[in-house]
Assembly symmetry: C2
Homo-oligomer: 456 residues x 2
């Protein structure tokens, strides 16, 4: 995700179809609704072209502004070469959380997130940190808040100084273009523009929103919305964080509840995506709670917490699938499920080894039910199992039972590959109760073209 | 390496130039000589077409036969889905080592190695094991030795039953074609045919031989030869073993010395190669000591041991470089050197993360000195370092000093990529004395074509 020179030097790829859930679809307690971040009351979004990219037709600055200070949580890359915006935003979240979010004058909570694409501001040293600090200051001056109430994020090429000038001119421009805070058409348009502005090699903007209804401690019902946008297509194997993402809800949560909800949801959604096993220097996901819809404050022990996490997981599962399906050069979404591992961590390790295997991924590109490569990837994963206990299915078709080949109809398998956008691989290890689900994509000539051809 | 259906279904790729050291070249105490395994006295080789492959013009059965029982050592894949020939040969090495190698009638030592390409005999269960056992029996009957004195190895597609018939007819055929044991032209021809017969997606056979002279404990000088052949092009990231390889020397070593020498050499040579991070189910490397050249028995504490290991490392370094440069679809050999790590294991981890990064490898394919991707790969590796202490050079050109970009001449960098078959990446971590060197290749459309296109 932090390497957009490809996207700069090349014509935009044709948008690929999306696997985003359609409005009205349900997943658990969550119902998908239109509008992405625009569906969330209490915040406004914009996306403009500020000049970070050589192509003036591409938006490259996104702004998310809350009407009032919002409770804010964040998770970040564990890449040791983490970028300046990651280091700064970490500090700001701590300062914003320490202040009293219910007393805006005290500088609690977050007021804005400034995101740019085209340059990652990574391995840029002190000058890069000064640019990040200045970015937050500029936004704070315009909004009349403290600089630490502004979070920042960057994505694009690594190791190139990030110019401040596009922020100086672009932030006022974006402020003038902010959509509404009322979950209406203007709000949707602003959110869409913001989601476009954070794209690098993504072929389309990625957004989702869900609503859920739950019963509060006093017996009353309340309906909340959670929306989000993400970007990411290459350099995707998040490690305890992921890519760039902004999530928001119109509910009001304690800092502890928001942190915990984000951590729990990431562990089983965006942290389970891999496109190419490469972990970005800039992964950042923010979750804001605007409290714009009246209701009781959600804390980790109240009856609303579990429904909130469940809806957040549904939202982020959809965003994770969108990212995997739009992986650089991808033609198929690949969902790898591992069950029967000794624990969930072992299941994750096994699934990740399959999802990252170039030979598994090229086989899928070749529409080849080559389960021997899946067995190979399992065997090298470091996960403990007995070969004679392992079963593998592809698209529900058993291909390996208890470590032995199962004769299957190759034509039927080929049709499965050709007729479906999503390829499922199910592995049963037979050693315990651990399970994990991961999302990835196939590995095609498109990936090489995007990442290897642009300089030749 | 265990997935040769690609090679079967496609026309043979044009042979790529080799980076093999030329005869007369020296590396440490070793001088490269002609002939591969054929340069080693006391053994004979053959390679024939036995019918494992659909293409009758491709050799697919290799035979290495020693004149007398040889001391034998082996290292094998740690992939849990290890193949039948791996499981059987492990047992045979133990039995051969337990017997007295100096008393042939007792069944000590090894007499032959039978290798086939076209089918890996992996995840084939009991029938696969029976085929491996039968293979050893057939060879033993022809040679008049015990079955456990025969080692076996297979490479090719995984999960497909391996037919016995090609062994029944092919082994006598190969025996009739064996080259001489005298390091002459007939010996060279036999070794070359054997090296051809184990190829899968390799574009050319891979052999090397070295000689070295050392002083024995009684002051006399002795000159020994070590030769070898390997195969491997994809599914290459050996884990404590590697690919398929047969190494042999005309010196005589104790079992302990031979085991130790092989282990030490593998750790810094063939275990430091990665093409695509995928670890084969069939990795096997054998080292035979024929003792055909008179001299004192080498044990781990005698003055000959270190020179022997040093020459073996020189040989295997050359073979490792040949494999990386002939990686599936490769156009460049990439040598990654990491110094200044807290220990050698951390250096290996850092180097492996760079060598396996799809984004680093596609950048090299694109002739792009994109060091930001190298920094990313370092940062995700899990290795401990301080960003501000890290320096990176590409082809000797400093691109990152103490964590910051160094302006460099992009045209000069581009010329370096275009003019050289070998691209060097040097990383200094600044945390200790640990170092490691790894070999890999670039990632190109060729890799996708070989592994993804053949079924579409």
């Amino acid at each position: 995700m932090t390497d957009a020179s490809a996207a700069d030097g090349m014509p935009m790829p044709a948008p690929r179809p999306s696997v985003a859930a359609l409005p009205g679809t349900t997943n658990g307690n969550a119902t998908f609704v239109e509008g992405g971040l625009g569906a969330v009351k209490g915040l406004r979004c914009a996306g403009v072209s500020a000049g970070f990219r050589r192509n003036p037709e591409r938006k490259d600055l996104a702004l998310v502004v809350t009407e009032k200070p919002a409770v804010a949580a964040g998770v970040f890359t564990r890449n040791l070469f983490c970028a300046a915006p990651v280091a700064l935003s970490r500090q700001h979240l701590v300062r914003g959380a320490l202040a009293d979010v219910d007393a805006p004058t005290a500088g609690g909570g977050a007021r804005a997130i400034v995101l740019n694409s085209g340059n990652a501001n990574a391995t840029t040293g002190e000058p890069g940190m000064r640019t990040a600090i200045q970015t937050a200051r500029i936004a704070a001056e315009h909004l009349g808040c403290e600089p630490h109430q502004v979070l920042v994020a960057s994505t694009g090429v690594i190791g190139v100084p990030l110019a401040l000038e596009p922020f100086v001119t672009g932030i006022p421009l974006a402020l003038a273009e902010l959509g509404s805070a009322d979950a209406d058409a203007a709000a949707f348009a602003g959110a869409h523009a913001a989601a476009e502005a954070i794209m690098t090699t993504d072929t389309h903007p990625k957004q989702a929103a869900v609503s859920f209804t739950a019963t509060q401690s006093d017996g009353s019902e309340v309906t909340y919305t959670i929306g989000g946008m993400v970007k990411g297509s290459g350099m995707i194997q998040p490690n305890m964080a992921t890519l760039l993402g902004v999530l928001a809800t119109d509910a009001w949560l304690t800092q502890e509840a928001l942190d915990l909800a984000l951590k729990q949801a990431m562990a089983v959604t965006l942290n389970r995506v891999t496109v190419d096993s490469d972990t970005s220097t800039n992964d950042s996901v923010y979750l804001l709670a605007t409290g714009a819809t009246p209701g009781k404050t959600i804390n980790p022990t109240c009856p609303l917490f579990e429904p909130f996490v469940s809806a957040l997981v549904a939202l982020c599962t959809d965003l994770a699938r969108q990212i995997a399906y739009d992986g650089e050069g991808a033609t198929r979404l690949v969902t790898v499920s591992v069950t029967g591992a000794s624990d969930d961590a072992q299941a994750d390790l096994a699934g990740r080894s399959i999802a990252n295997s170039p030979l598994v991924k090229t086989a899928i590109a070749g529409h080849d039910a080559n389960w021997g490569r899946i067995a190979m990837a399992l065997g090298k994963s470091g996960v403990t199992f007995v070969q004679e206990e392992v079963s593998i299915s592809i698209m529900g078709l058993p291909v390996c039972e208890r470590g032995l080949p199962v004769p299957f109809d190759e034509d039927e398998a080929l049709r499965c590959f050709e007729d479906n956008a999503e390829i499922t691989i199910d592995v049963v290890l037979g050693t315990g109760e651990g399970h994990a689900r991961l999302w990835t994509c196939d590995l095609t000539h498109g990936y090489i073209t995007i990442n290897g051809d642009y300089r030749t």
